[in-house]
Subunit: 195 residues, 4 copies
DNA sequence: AATGAATGAGGCTTCATTCAT
DNA sequence: TATGAATGAAGCCTCATTCAT
């Protein structure tokens, strides 16, 4: 039954997201799916096949949302808006993104999907935005591909810290202060010109 | 003997980088190091400690020298020096660091030691540096914990892109340009002030 | 299957009785039970649990029937019945119980489960019985927890003497006389009231 | 050096008393003795030899004290005095006694020493006391060997419970109440004659 | 098609004992 | 004689996968 297959896939997604691949057991997935352990193997020949299927369905369903919306307005507002928007989306899908990211590190096929479907398309839009602002004289003539990645990196490290590494336990940041600081650094740098 | 400890550490680094953490066996590490399996456990209480120690020694080793060097010279030089140093370190040990990062995503136990012994200590130093420069009026009064992480994030995203995800296949960046751009953005921002 | 569980329990009982706890291996128990080593762990999470279960099932098995039987009849009969029943039980399983006792002396983890699941439950029943007889005016108003243990102690020392220490070689007691004497002392004491 | 040998023996005694034989490690004994692990094996060929030596020295030094003093006076006082005296002695030497007892269960040679040197001599004295009181018409004409063991059993079970099994964690008894109750039961039984 | 009990290879870790220094 | 680093056999336990029902 197709129904059964989907249940197993969904359950596997939840378990993998919680524990990662190696530390998830087929027993736990079976329990979560409400089927017998053996049943899993009628639909997926090995545990690894199950992972590939989980991740494939993720790419098709959740990640495209990361591409939505590029705002306009003052640059300040636009940047903050982009950051906030991305941040919210990531936070909603953090567990699965984390799994996806972890697996992408070691699987060529997953990486390709990830880079092509998500990274390149997202950065392409952002780069276009940067270029457009550059032409209007609002932004300095830096390499947009690099400049855009710098912004994403600043956001990314806080996402990784909090959502992927559970760094909250050690140092907790106020979200608004972080977005504010990233924006101001990105626009004006850290150098003090007031003296 | 300290010598023996280093041999095991080095061998473990090679094996982990080759196979990943879970799929490396202590038997293979022992073989690679030319010691008995039990010997490993004279130096490292668990396999997990071994991994943490391998990575920690990598990351911390060059840190004191780096920080000392930074004490003198302009901020610009300091930042470039930090970026250069960390980048080289990562490039040389990319496979191992990648593995560690992937493991850390799903293993609280791995993270704890590493965050406490490496991340927090290293960032504390950097934050102190930032504060000191702040007091001298060289840097703006931003939250140093956030400001420091912003710089690391900018570098991090290029490392992840190239070393962890093999992004070179899609977009290749000139290393010097990247470091230059990060430095200038970090210090002066992207806003065009009509110069 | 419940059947399989019992097989393992029985095999474990034999092996433990033969070799002691630490020197019994799960491999041997599995061989003796005619199952794969891993199978043991489907039924008992750890080797320690296996030992506790073996002994607990021994001690608790005949308890409900015993207590029920005791409800009716004189106190004298009840006490003799209890003593007889426990004595037979111990005699049949002396090597295993001896081993368990020896292990329990130095393993907090073993004791905890056993005391909580067996000792406290069994004594609670006996204490309830004592209280009930007390209310009927058949027994003196002593602390039931202490009074019950006194009875068990009298029996216990003969068990330890004969079954655990092989004291038969030095002094041999007639079983019936022992049970008779314990009963009469427990009920009426050793003081001569000049009858 | 003979000095060194004694240090190791004493350290081993402490460690064995704490953890029992199987769970004590030669490493811990060496640490406790302040010598290198290898040194132990210059004095005692195997770990088991070490145990035998520890226990042998115990029998020669500590146990004989258990035989001291048999009081006279009223029977009540005599019994309470005996109980209290034994209890105090046992409590002082509980850890080593426990070790000794545990090992005696499985070692013929130790058992013999224990029974001959301690048990038989102690009971012989007590039996003589019982007989003497019997002749004076103070005690019932029961088999003194059995009657004496009954008293010791009542005391013994509380010692085992508290000192050997750490039962205090579960049920704690007031020492005076216990001695009082044992004495009264032993002398007068539990049967209520008041009705 | 579904079950879930059973498997057994293989991993990490412990620790008494050895031996070169 | 003392050291303590090194050994390696052996043990407990995990878990993906199989297969009789």
């Amino acid at each position: 039954m197709e129904e059964r297959r989907r249940e197993i896939l969904a359950a596997a997604g939840r378990v993998f997201a919680r524990k990662g691949f190696e530390r998830s057991t087929t027993a736990e997935i079976a329990r979560e799916a409400g089927v017998a352990e053996g049943t899993i193997f009628r639909y997926f020949p090995t545990k690894r096949d199950l992972l590939v299927s989980v991740v494939a369905s993720l790419v098709m369903e959740s990640l495209p949302a990361l591409l939505e919306r590029i705002e306009t307005g003052t640059i300040e507002d636009a940047i903050k808006d982009i950051l906030r928007n991305r941040l919210d989306l990531i936070k909603e899908n953090a567990p699965l993104l984390k799994l996806f990211f972890a697996e992408a590190l070691f699987r060529e096929d997953l990486r390709e999907k990830f880079i092509e479907e998500v990274v390149l398309r997202a950065t392409a839009r952002a780069e276009a935005f940067y270029r457009q602002q550059q032409e209007q004289g609002n932004l300095r003539p830096l390499n947009p591909q690099i400049a855009i990645r710098c912004l994403m990196g600043m956001l990314g490290i806080f996402v990784i810290w909090k959502e992927f590494l559970g760094g909250d336990k050690y140092v907790r940041f106020d979200e608004e202060e972080v977005l504010e600081t990233i924006t101001t650094i990105y626009l004006d740098g850290v150098r003090d010109r007031g003296r």
